[in-house]
């Protein structure tokens, strides 16, 4: 690695416009990147990571401005440079890889046409040379069919492949710097590994400097030489990756590291013969004529948490829809307390409906924005329990206290006045208001930052102990499973591939697919990816491993 400095940002202040005023996003951050160095930029949502990353390219989105400071790229001052000078740098010497490749590729053009656009427009290569080079890059990124894949449209290619095509596109002019903005956040764990490995290889091979933006510590540990931690627009600390992981100096960094230590002890095995609270028996389901679930069966017992894990499209949420009766199954039945439920929710009695409640992934959209918190929680209290007036108010207050929000402060607020974690707590209170036995938690923490998510998990665990609730916990995050589950059900392509107590699931031998899922979860160890790839054999990652099963 040369010691030559590529990017020099000094005392950079960024502001965003909302309601006619400029609010600070980044407060005087310095950033230095040497040639060929990879810097990890980490922080929770709202920390200003993406804004800072884009500012390193001399670019700000509409409604954002750089109010103070300097940004230099290879000695060129990007803040005073003309638009033409910046255009000459962008794409050619500085490239960008966005979070959602599906949204960032133009749907109207073939991948290859978008790939060659940079080199041709910047006069780096002819169209045919660039096409050949593109195929070579696709091959290096281990894309299937590297000679043909470029001649497809973006919607014809899967998410993980698109993300690699976008990395290839960023490489098309052999830039000195690439900004990776959460490139694997939208992907499943097994797909994430392929993309991580590809990105790391190609960045090393061409000695490209990179700024890698993510909220996932374990991911950044694999990719970065240096890590910079941001909190609400301020720099917390910067250190090289190994030092940062082994000896963080700041409290905030330590707290980030500590999150993954929350783990509930495994509960003792269920007594044989006890009636499960909810039993899913041989359920088949389909959307229209497309079958999605095949012979799904599992039981959930009182006071326990069953985690249903699997990649997107594996049928986790569909199973939940069958249990609630939103999607009547084609075959099989749902039992609650040993009693067969009518398949369609419209045929269920009020008391049967009360037993099964849901908490949703996006608290933002699951709460009526025009109703106050009090009204939102009071509605099921009145509907299911028939309480009115002062009694109703008392019950709502008690529920708010249960979710650790001060009733007098929150009763009259609107959802928009709450933070993401608080909104999710309201979602929990609303489910509790019906006094159910069983709650389906559908990815309830995946939209939240790690610290906030941990708070929600602790709250759910406490409520379970107090009220002996049964949870069905739908998630794709195995760290969450480890933290909260008693039993685990692994789903793939609409089938249950393995189920059992958590301790059993996390100790080998596993089903091949469970093994792939488990080993794909990034670990804090900076050598994890290297070791894993060596173990699997480099050509044997992701797609290949799945195909073998």
């Amino acid at each position: 690695m040369s010691e030559e400095i590529l990017v020099k940002m000094r005392d950079v202040w960024l502001e965003g416009r909302s309601d006619e005023t400029w609010n600070p996003i980044i407060n005087g951050v310095d950033l230095t990147l040497k040639k060929g160095e990879v810097l990890g930029l980490i922080g929770e949502s709202g920390a200003g990571k993406s804004t800072l990353g884009l500012a390193a390219m001399g670019y700000t989105r509409d409604g954002v401005r750089i109010s103070k400071g300097s940004v230099e790229f290879d000695g060129i001052d990007l803040l005073t440079a003309s638009a033409a000078v910046k255009r000459e740098l962008l794409g050619k010497r500085i490239a960008y890889v966005a979070q959602s490749a599906a949204a960032s590729f133009n749907p109207a053009h073939k991948l290859m046409d978008q790939h060659v656009e940079g080199p041709v427009q910047h006069g780096v290569m002819s169209k045919s040379d660039s096409e050949e080079d593109g195929m070579e890059l696709y091959r290096k990124l281990r894309l299937p069919n590297p000679d043909q894949i470029g001649f497809r449209y973006p919607h014809q290619v899967s998410g993980g492949q698109l993300q690699r095509c976008m990395t290839a596109m960023a490489m098309s002019c052999r830039p000195d710097l690439i900004i990776f903005d959460e490139p694997t956040t939208a992907l499943d764990v097994t797909t994430q590994i392929e993309v991580l490995a590809s990105i790391r290889d190609i960045v090393e091979q061409f000695n490209t400097a990179a700024i890698y933006i993510t909220h996932d510590l374990a991911v950044v540990a694999q990719m970065a030489d240096t890590i910079k931690v941001l909190l609400k627009g301020d720099e917390v600390e910067t250190a090289d990756t190994r030092t940062m992981l082994s000896a963080p100096t700041q409290e905030y960094t330590k707290s980030l590291w500590a999150v993954r230590s929350f783990e509930r002890p495994q509960k003792p095995a269920v007594q044989t013969g006890s009636v499960p609270v909810v039993s899913v028996q041989n359920v088949d389901a389909s959307y229209g004529t497309v079958p999605v679930l095949h012979d799904v069966s599992f039981d959930m017992h009182e006071g326990r948490t069953v985690a249903v894990v699997g990649e997107s499209g594996s049928g986790k949420s569909t199973t939940a829809r069958c249990i609630t009766g939103l999607l009547p199954p084609k075959a099989g039945q749902i039992l609650v307390d040993g009693e067969v439920m009518p398949p369609d929710y419209r045929k269920r009695s009020k008391d049967q409906l009360r037993q099964v409640q849901m908490i949703y992934q996006m608290a933002d959209t699951a709460l009526n924005p025009r109703m106050s918190i009090g009204q939102i929680i009071a509605r099921p209290v009145e509907f299911y329990l028939g309480l009115k007036g002062a009694e109703k108010r008392k019950r709502v207050d008690a529920l708010l206290e249960q979710i650790e929000l001060e009733p007098s402060q929150y009763y009259h607020r609107l959802p928009s006045e709450l933070s993401g974690g608080q909104k999710q707590r309201i979602g929990i209170a609303r489910a509790l208001a019906a006094e159910p036995k069983f709650i389906i938690c559908d990815e309830v923490t995946s939209a939240l930052d790690q610290l906030v998510a941990e708070g929600i998990l602790r709250l759910l665990a406490r409520l379970q102990d107090e009220l002996s609730l049964t949870y069905m916990f739908i998630t794709h995050d195995l760290a969450t499973v480890r933290a909260i589950a008693d039993e685990v059900v692994v789903m793939k392509d609409g089938r249950v591939v393995e189920q059992g107590p958590k301790t059993e699931m996390f100790t080998p031998p596993h089903h091949a697919y469970t093994d792939l899922l488990l080993s794909s979860v990034p670990q804090m160890d900076p050598d994890w990816l290297t070791n894993l790839l060596a173990e699997r054999g480099v050509d044997n990652i992701g797609d290949a491993a799945v195909d073998k099963m």
Partner: protein, 330 residues
Amino acid sequence: MGNVLTIILQRLTLGLLTLLIVSIVIFVAVNLLPGDFAQSILGQGATPEAVASIREDLGLDQPMVTRYFDWLGGVLRGDLGTSFAQANFASFTGTDSGATTVAQQIAPRFANTMFLAMITAIIAVPFSIFLGVLAALYRNTVFDRATNIFTLSSISSPEFFLAYILILFLAVLNPIFPSLSNIFEGMPFGERVEKSMLPALTLTLVVTAHMMRMTRAAIINLLASPYIEMARLKGLSPMRVIVKHALPNALAPIINVIALNLAYLITGVVVVEVVFVYPGIGQLFVDSVKIRDIPVVQACCLIFATAFILLNLTADIMSILSNPRLRHPK
């Protein structure tokens, strides 16, 4: 592609069904017009016997349902009927042109209208899209505002006013184009174009605003999307970002507005025709309504409806085809 073909067939069937319903509406509406041909021909002093005999001659004494099916059957065989005015009473109206069937009467007029619509479209569509792209590129600048003010004021002014202004500037003060567009059969093409220029320019002013503003809005709507940001971050010129990356994805709404305006050019230009004495179908239509020449009125309405439905159908199909997801399924 099978997918797209199914959609197109569905739309065609729906279009035919719409046309059938429209034919009923036209027939009923035209028959609800107060007065009838016999009365309007014979005038105030007509004896009831004379009126009854003409009505009988023309079949107006038959019940409405019978007349509708007679008419519909004729239309399906390609026979639009015989003009009342031209059939037996040409001497009354003084408009004997030797053409007796409705088709013979309408054909040359319709051809003229299509000619004018075509010339206008050739000028107006590229002009509007070009202006729209420029307005999106230089949005919120003086150019953008000037374009908006210009197109909005021309659409807000009455057509005859625009026509007279153009005549004043382009025919009277600077005699570039003739102010009368009395084209006739057998006129050489070049002269036809020259004579049609002023009405075409007037109509261009009328239809530009819609198309230009939709182009601008559809493009600006896309500018916040991630793939536009990506195009910018690839260092492409602003013009390329808009033309190559935004425009192809903004086509669907633009195509629909173009179709609506083209339909207007065929069906709604009677005022401009009158001002420039242009022998189009609009004038014929209005004249026929005046003398209750029902077969001609019905045929004109049916042609207007067909034009409207066909253009909207084309627009629908083209918007569908502009979506790569449908053109290239997985």
